[in-house]
Symmetry: C2
Subunit: 151 residues, 2 copies
DNA sequence: GTCATTTCCTAGTGCGTCACTAGGGTTTCC
DNA sequence: GGAAACCCTAGTGACGCACTAGGAAATGAC
């Protein structure tokens, strides 16, 4: 029950764009370096984000990516859905045809409830929220370092 | 972000045991047939459930599996953790060593919150709850059929 | 106008995991 | 003794993940 690196990287990249994109387009190279990700791989994640209308691209030198909307109008759920498909713990919850025992299947209720909660959390957190958290704890925008406060 | 068939099948099997296990041990064969699962595969899922102390096994003819505790004392989360490992959307939330940027990583907060909600839902649903739901909607204990009420 | 920078597109690849299948061995009831 | 059941280990095909690779096209700086 894991989100893949696709999802995690995409969120990290969008957060980076939210933090740095005020002045102009941010190149993938810069995002990848700051967040410690593979540039070529991240490049591939930007394509669906652009097609989905979450970011705009500026080609050529001094180009890069910019958020297409305000950080407050983009949720983590929005980002995840683009690169990972529907937020759903099992296929039959988002696609009724995926299972022929969908009707009258008790366990299906579990997954539907779980899905609803997951969506609730993920859609309630926006990129603006992440920026606010980063501002409160300054080390957060850097790839590593900071105080050791693990629980 | 999916639960594997391991998790789903294990929950279905435990539900079946909760429904039918009052009178005596239920063989894997019967569970597999009722739930429409591969017998040999399900057999392999029962092993960890037994080792974890969620079910007891009775060997030999007329043997099978019985819940080791009352259905009300076994949550869906208990079952999932046994066959799928820790309930966690990303490794770094359950294992701090999994990521070297755990400290001061803004996105980590997302996954921690998500994890907490998932655990909340999964641990709040017991096998007894599933049995009660099945009783309310009788078709639910059968592998297929029932009224077509898809949303 | 050329050159560096950057996005854009497609294809390949090693690896691991998932969902089983297979072949037995051991225990127990009838 | 035989059938029914659990128990253990090993294999296997398919798939997706996490990249790497090789370019083509666009654009700004000079």
């Amino acid at each position: 029950m894991r989100v893949s690196t696709r999802g995690r990287y995409a969120v990290m990249a969008m957060f980076d764009l939210a933090m740095r994109g005020e002045v102009g387009p941010v190149p993938v190279k810069a995002v990848a370096e700051r967040q410690g990700l593979s540039e070529r791989y991240l490049e591939q994640l930007m394509a669906p984000l652009r097609r989905a209308g979450l970011v705009r691209s500026v080609r050529g030198a001094q180009g890069g990516y910019v958020l297409a909307r305000s950080p407050a109008a983009i949720s983590v759920g929005d980002v995840l859905r683009v690169v990972e498909g529907p937020i759903s713990p099992v296929a039959c919850v988002s696609d009724p045809k995926a299972c022929d025992r969908t009707d009258g299947c008790v366990t299906r209720g579990i997954w539907r409830r779980l899905r609803d909660r997951m969506v609730e959390v993920l859609d309630s957190i926006t990129l603006a929220d992440l920026c606010a958290e980063a501002a409160a704890e300054p080390a957060a925008q850097e790839p590593r370092g900071g105080t050791d406060s693990r629980a």
